[in-house]
């Protein structure tokens, strides 16, 4: 029971991270109907910017943790959002209206490019980062087994909840959110009614990249090591999460992320840790066979 609780805590933390990445996939899919293969790489870049900023702050002698966290968060989100914007501008916008395969190949090209770009610039070795937030609560202690909720896990979960709240407000209440939802339903009609479609799509990429950057920063602090290849598996799992929740559905992406995180935590705890990535992938295939529209998605009808 205690072991179960501990895995629940770990799974929720992981799920929060996946959910944040999945939101980016699902938003982009909703608005331009393509999988942004480079999204995992955006998350990876967010993690690298976070490591660099943490190191820089350390070198400057700033040791007040809350200040460091806020600075890293802002810097990481800012720079990564710039990457998200540029990727859309360079690799996807010229291909709007091109045959289906073209943006997909462009996206995979972008993903390969970014992986190698970071590898060449920052080195292929893993980047270790000493823990920024130490310690934690002991939730429960029984049978010589204690259930830990570390401060970093609290930080991740609380920050995710705050971000989701802000994000929901933006989508539901602001002008941008309204434009975003309009473009999702019918881009042509939205354009005719005066919505700047290009700008809305750009902002969608910026928001998606910002969320991925936060996820990258969290993972840096949570695991303490990153390398240039982390975007690959994380992207795959986050995409699975988006499909599981119903691609195009925003609450679905978060739900899917949490479920994938839980599955991964429980699978590695109770079955085998080597095959935890296979578990996530099997879910993707199973969902595609039995419920391609996902848990909260609407079935897709393709029209001429």
């Amino acid at each position: 029971m205690e072991y179960f609780l501990q895995q629940l805590v770990n799974g929720l933390t992981l799920g929060a991270i996946y959910g944040l990445i999945a939101l980016g996939y699902t938003m982009v899919y909703g608005i331009i109907g393509m999988i942004n293969f480079a999204h995992g790489e955006i998350y990876m870049i967010g993690a690298f910017v976070a490591v660099t900023t943490f190191t820089l702050l350390g070198a400057l002698g700033i040791s007040f943790v809350p200040l460091a966290l806020v600075v890293v968060l802002l810097v990481s989100v800012g720079f990564t959002a710039a990457y998200g914007w540029t990727i859309e501008r360079v690799a996807y916008r010229p291909l709007r209206g091109a045959p289906r395969l073209a943006p997909l190949i462009s996206a995979i090209g972008m993903s390969i490019f970014l992986q190698n770009y970071v590898q060449l610039l920052q080195g292929a070795r893993v980047k270790p980062l000493p823990p920024v937030i130490r310690g934690g609560f002991e939730l429960l202690h029984a049978n010589r087994f204690s259930v830990q909720l570390s401060y970093i896990q609290c930080f991740i979960i609380v920050l995710t909840v705050i971000l989701i709240a802000i994000f929901t407000l933006v989508i539901a209440r602001t002008r941008l959110g309204r434009a975003q939802r309009a473009c999702e339903q019918d881009r042509t009609m939205a354009a005719l009614l005066g919505v700047d479609v290009d700008r809305t799509i750009s902002l969608t990429f910026v928001i998606g990249a910002a969320l991925a950057a936060v996820a990258g920063m969290m993972v840096t602090m949570y695991y303490g090591v990153i390398d240039f290849f982390i975007g690959f598996l994380a992207g795959l799992k986050a995409f699975t999460a988006a499909v599981l929740g119903g691609i195009g559905s925003l609450p679905g992406a978060m739900l899917g992320g949490l479920l994938i995180g839980l599955v991964e935590a429980f699978y590695s705890a109770y079955f085998s840790i080597e095959y935890k990535d296979v578990a996530a992938f099997s879910i993707l295939v199973l969902v595609l066979i039995f419920r391609p529209s996902g848990l909260l998605g609407r079935p897709e009808v393709e029209k001429v």
Binding site: V49, F79, A82, I105, I108, F113, G123, L192, E274
Partner: protein
């Protein structure tokens, strides 16, 4: 209509000031992008990270973007006609007798290569590697170029073929020639098993599922220790024989080896040349097979499906089955190439089957031109020979390829040498 609306919203900047402004904006963005990843570099200083700065690199990068954007702006602006002329003069493959003659000349050269005076072991080995990639490219071309399905885990089928041969040969002592069809068949079965649930859905799902599948196969190969020996890989995989004549210096008792049978002096190069000719014939068979398939109703259905799935459905083509056949045939060809790879190396490990490999093969197909058999050869040659020129190129290879994939999609989606024309036309089209 959408385009019209977009162009009203964002008028193109005209004149030199407008272009300068655009170039400055691009340089500004480049500066922002470059600062955290180019300008600052974290270095490991005995377990603790330190920071290095490289502002000179940032300056060079930003300047390059500024100049590039300005030149690009001029090319799409006042000098657009020059650009258009350059685009027209890019090699569009000539059709008919000329290209056919050229292709036969190339094949003749490929067959003669090991016997030419300048040929040595290094060149023949390089040729063998090149031909493996050519064969993989032709196999993937069926899936991506003809059927228009994006397969990002092609290396998985390559791995299945390689492990199928290695395991059958090591555990049951079967010869290469018996295992080869099995390897292809098994890879095709994997392709069908994977494609079946996914091909009913939109193409994007296939891309990501194959991406995952490639990774999963690798994870399974690493972790299924009892069967695959995990990361250590499988060693001493039997080499193929020449119609039952092995290439050993001292064969097992009772077995005649190649050099004894033909009364030659033993030379390790016999096997190298034999392997080269073997992959050459496999590749040529693949090519012939694919070229023939393209003229069958099935091949035409692939191309039709690539262009318009809904129209195909309306004409009574079952898209799932047609896609599945392309996927399975592509997988089978990958399996053949994998079996050859295993027998050539004599050693395989999961390290040979990473995502980079899939990306490389995809890059060959995309750069060479989807659907173009000759383009695949040229792209594969470029890709295999580039790292041989210098280590610096090897390092930048995938970076260049990723960028090239984006640029090609924007400027010449049919690939450098590709033609999107259907293989078969009605009436006097050809």
């Amino acid at each position: 209509m959408e385009r019209a609306a977009a162009s009203i919203a964002a008028p193109r900047p005209g004149g030199l000031p407008g272009r300068l402004k655009a170039a400055l904006a691009a340089a500004g963005v480049a500066l922002v992008l470059a600062v955290p990843l180019v300008g600052l570099r974290t270095v490991d200083q005995g377990g603790v990270l330190g920071i290095e700065t490289r502002w000179d690199w940032v300056a060079i990068g930003v300047a390059a973007v500024f100049v590039g954007r300005l030149a690009g702006g001029l090319l799409t602006g006042p000098w657009a006609h020059l650009m258009a002329r350059a685009g027209r003069s890019l090699p569009v493959l000539p059709q008919g007798a000329a290209v056919r003659g050229l292709a036969f000349a190339a094949i003749g050269f490929a067959i003669a290569l090991p016997f030419l005076p300048f040929a040595n072991r290094y060149i023949v080995d390089l040729g063998t590697t090149l031909l493996i990639y050519v064969m993989l490219g032709w196999g993937l071309n069926v899936v991506v170029g003809l059927a228009g399905l994006l397969d990002l885990g092609y290396v998985a089928f390559y791995a299945v073929g390689a492990y199928a041969y290695a395991l059958l040969a090591l555990n049951f002592g079967l010869s290469f020639w018996i295992c080869l069809p099995f390897a292809g068949l098994l890879a095709a079965l994997f392709g069908i098993g994977l494609g079946f649930p996914v091909l009913r859905l939109r193409g994007d799902y296939l891309a990501i599922v194959t991406l995952g599948f490639g990774e999963m196969i690798r994870i399974i190969l690493i972790n299924w220790q009892s069967l695959t020996h995990g990361p250590n890989g499988l060693a001493s995989i039997p080499r193929p024989s020449f119609f039952g004549l092995p290439f050993e210096r001292v064969p097992d008792p009772g077995v005649t080896s190649f050099h004894q049978f033909f009364g030659l002096d033993f030379s390790p190069e016999h096997r190298v040349v034999f392997l080269y000719l073997l992959i050459l014939s496999l590749a040529l068979l693949t090519n012939l097979f694919v070229l023939r398939l393209r003229r069958l109703p099935l091949g035409r259905a692939w191309e039709a499906l690539r262009e318009d799935e809904i129209a195909c459905r309306a004409l009574g083509i079952n898209p799932t089955n047609v896609k599945l056949s392309a996927f399975a045939i592509g997988a089978m060809l990958g399996g053949f190439a994998g079996a050859f790879f295993a027998t050539r190396q004599g050693f395989i490990s999961p390290e040979s089957f990473t995502f980079i490999e899939s990306a490389t093969i995809l890059a060959i197909v995309v750069l060479g031109g989807m659907g173009s058999q000759v383009g695949v050869v040229l792209a594969a040659a470029f890709l295999v020979l580039l790292p041989e020129i210098g280590r610096e190129f090897a390092q930048f290879r995938m970076l260049i390829f990723g960028a090239a994939m984006i640029l090609i999609m924007i400027w010449r989606p049919q690939g450098l040498l590709g033609r999107r024309d259907p293989t078969v036309r009605l009436g006097r089209g050809r």
